[in-house]
């Protein structure tokens, strides 16, 4: 046994390594990024694990599926919204099933600390009919990930490990096994019908997946991560990390009956025993009211009163914490020190001093002055901060790549000027296809690609389409070379850059302007 201090993310990564991982793939996204980065550091030292950032989550998922197909163990990591991108591969991988152990570690962001929504990935696990683990602490992150691999191979399906921000980015000591499991040998799946989802094969495969469901339920029922403790007449169902919030507020000899859930599907028998035992049950979930809704059904539960996010005891949206759970349990507030009632001026994140995006936006803002109230479509990255004062240069941010396609749609609807601002990595992730469409459709758009040579927001990971690669892609997609411009966003070039923007704004038809200068943070880190 060893002991290591690990973030929840890192504990998942180490669990995978100790489970005999062969390959890890992913796309950076808070709060999931550190899973990959941790394994990557180990991989670099050991040399026998493959760690690759992919261009997007779908590609990452398919690469992991390929490793699984080859009989070896794979981990694929992403944030919750990344799973939307990977959903096609994800859903169908449940139908093909896994050969080598395939684990998807997905980090949800309740409270939207660094995200545009707080969707709950447990619905995806249920949607795909696969098991899902939800750790309550760092130790469980490590243990569950190892168990997930065994389960994946025993049942022949992918398994999800669902994290939330607080567990992903919280650190504690983790006990580790002394004998990591060796990697699987290369043993490709040769069952063509299983892996070729023609309708005739897919129907068979889908039936096999459905027939596995009773076994999934049995596993959940017997899981050491689903713990039922019957005491008094007040009940709690605590999913994942929320168990800690409940226990934090209770003395050791409390009289609440608690069902802790860490493995899905929800174990029906344990749930029934709890509900039959108590008069009322409070459902704690750091995410959507997934279990609560299931429990309540359309007409409520005859036997016990169900409370939670849907009944107002807990807020419907946002992240839970010990205070909210305490209030939900009906316990009195804890006394605090008496201070003057002060509020602190808010301090939102900002672009770093000297950030290239600032110079790009200043030039773009000035170039756009010829229009009344121009709206600029943008995307996801550091440059999204350009929406805030003082720049207020962009006016949309929806999903990866949406800037280009939305600008094209707006242009087609007759909107002028249709400007999109997108980063180099976001362009590689989901912008290329949008640009190809816009070019094919001859949409009158101006695409600004802010090439800072890295994935900056998540910690300067390598970008798949920067510098010459980016230029070749853009030209290869068919942009008219006369309307492919490259500028250097520095203060002394301001007037020139404004002129370039103006010229392209006047052009009827698609144009691409690459604003290229390295991220300051990247230069610092990679010095």
């Amino acid at each position: 046994m060893g002991r290591e201090v690990l973030l929840g993310d890192e504990a998942v990564g180490l669990g995978a390594v100790h489970a005999g991982l062969t390959g890890i793939f992913g796309y950076p996204g808070t709060p999931s990024t550190e899973i990959f980065e941790f394994v990557e550091r180990i991989a670099r030292k050991r040399g026998d694990i493959e760690a690759h950032w992919s261009t997007n989550e779908k590609v990452a998922y398919e690469e992991a599926l390929g490793v699984s197909w080859a009989g070896r163990r794979a981990l694929v990591t992403m944030k919750h919204v990344g799973l939307n991108v990977a959903a096609d591969a994800f859903m169908n991988s449940a139908v093909t099933g896994a050969n080598g152990g395939l684990v998807l570690a997905v980090a949800d962001d309740p409270g939207m600390h660094s995200s545009q929504n707080e969707q709950d990935s447990r619905y995806f696990a249920k949607f795909a009919l696969i098991p899902c683990f939800e750790p309550r602490d760092q130790q469980a992150c490590y243990d569950m990930t190892r168990d997930a691999y065994d389960l994946s191979e025993e049942l022949g399906i992918p398994v999800m490990v669902r994290l939330v921000t607080r567990i992903a980015h919280s650190r504690s000591a983790v006990e580790t096994v002394s004998e990591p499991r060796p990697q699987n040998p290369l043993e490709p799946a040769k069952d063509i019908r299983r892996w070729t989802l023609l309708p005739s094969n897919a129907r068979v495969q889908y039936r096999i997946l459905v027939e596995k469901q009773p076994e999934l339920l049995r596993r959940a029922e017997e899981s050491p991560y689903n713990v039922l403790e019957l005491r008094g007449k007040r009940g709690i169902i605590a999913c994942g990390i929320t168990l800690n919030y409940a226990l934090e507020n209770l003395p050791r000899d409390h009289d609440w009956s608690i069902l802790a859930i860490g493995q899905y599907p929800v174990p029906p028998e344990k749930l029934r025993r709890l509900v039959e035992h108590v008069d009322e049950v409070l459902v704690l979930e750091d995410g959507y009211p997934f279990v609560e809704e299931m429990l309540r059904g359309l007409f409520g539960l005859g036997m016990a009163t169900v409370r939670g996010r849907l009944t107002g005891e807990l807020p419907r949206t946002g992240e839970l914490n010990p205070d909210l759970v305490r209030a939900g349990m009906g316990l009195p507030e804890v006394a605090t020190a008496a201070q003057m009632d002060t509020t602190a001026a808010s301090r939102p994140p900002t672009l770093c001093p000297g950030c290239p995006h600032t110079d790009t936006y200043k030039a773009l803002n000035e170039a756009l002055e010829i229009f009344t109230d121009p709206q600029v479509f943008s995307d996801i990255g550091c440059y999204t901060l350009g929406a805030l004062p003082p720049l207020q240069a962009i006016h949309s941010c929806v999903d990866m790549g949406a800037s280009i396609s939305m600008a094209a749609g707006a242009a087609i609807a007759g909107y002028r000027p249709a400007v999109a601002v997108i980063g180099d990595s976001t362009f590689a992730h989901s912008g290329m296809t949008g640009l190809l469409s816009a070019i094919e459709q001859e949409a009158n758009v101006n695409i600004v690609i802010v090439d800072n040579e890295t994935v900056a927001m998540t910690g300067t990971q390598p970008s798949a389409a920067t510098m010459e690669t980016l230029d070749r892609i853009v030209l290869g997609l068919g942009i008219d070379p006369e309307h492919f411009r490259v500028i250097t966003p520095v203060p002394k070039n301001h007037a020139d850059n404004v002129r370039v923007f103006r010229e392209e704004l006047e052009h009827e038809g698609p144009s691409v302007i690459v604003a290229r200068r390295a991220c300051i943070e990247k230069i610092k880190r990679h010095r």
């Binding site: 201090v5 808070t30 709060p31 990024t33 550190e34 600390h113 660094s114 602490d137 607080r166 567990i167 980015h169 919280s170 650190r171 504690s172 000591a173 990390i241 168990l243 800690n244 919030y245 226990l247 934090e248 507020n249 914490n321 010990p322 205070d323 305490r326 507030e333 804890v334 006394a335 605090t336 020190a337 008496a338 201070q339 003057m340 002060t342 509020t343 602190a344 001026a345 808010s346 301090r347 939102p348 994140p349 900002t350 672009l351 770093c352 550091c382 901060l385 927001m457 998540t458 910690g459």
Partner: protein
Amino acid sequence: MEKNLILAGVGGQGILSIAFVIDNAALDAGYQFKQAEVHGMSQRGGAVQSHLRYADHPIHSDLIPTGRVDMVLSVEPLEVLRYWKTLSPEGWVVSSITPYINIPDYPDMDELLTQLVSFPSVVLVDAGKIAQAAGNLRAQNMATLGAASPLLDFDDEQLLKYVRVLFGAKGEKIVAVNEKAYRYGKAAGQFFRGLIEAGIAPLDAVWLTRRMDPATIDPAQAGRWARLASDKDALAAILEAGSDLDAARVGVPG
């Protein structure tokens, strides 16, 4: 035993470095710990915070409940106001008074200080000045940690061991600077508390501590300074004798 800290600051000020030092000291001392941190968007110059808990028994929640916070340890004075309502009635505020101004509506410094000293259990040090004296402005985090250290459950060596681990890769010089910042910060914090305990008005204590040379400030002298400072005219005369404090220090009353 259980200690719950909120580490506060602005993205880039290195509060995770403070966390690293305390985490490992706690682990060495045989405590359990949990420490929740903020990654991602707010690290770009936004308000950041870390909940750090250690105890001699298992810890449940990664987040500290309101009313159970023992200390708000802040590398930046404005950031204190964001979290101090969660302090327990016995809780402490330990903060640098060096402002990090990257917002247009940053409050007036005098008003901010007046607010901070209204809280009785407070330790305030000028981490910017201390770090500069130690040799690097970036060491403000370690200066603030030093100021907080007497209220933690470790001796200097237990903490400094991990200051060395943390900065080891950056070379001996950086290690030395950060160790110095820690020690200066500790001395300044103790000096400040010494003044308060000797009955000096808190704002005067801030003012006097700030004017001391971080390299030579001596907590043992706090009582004498306090006696002197209670006589405003005498103090002003001494401090005026030389605009620089070393000259003034010559006149430390015996």
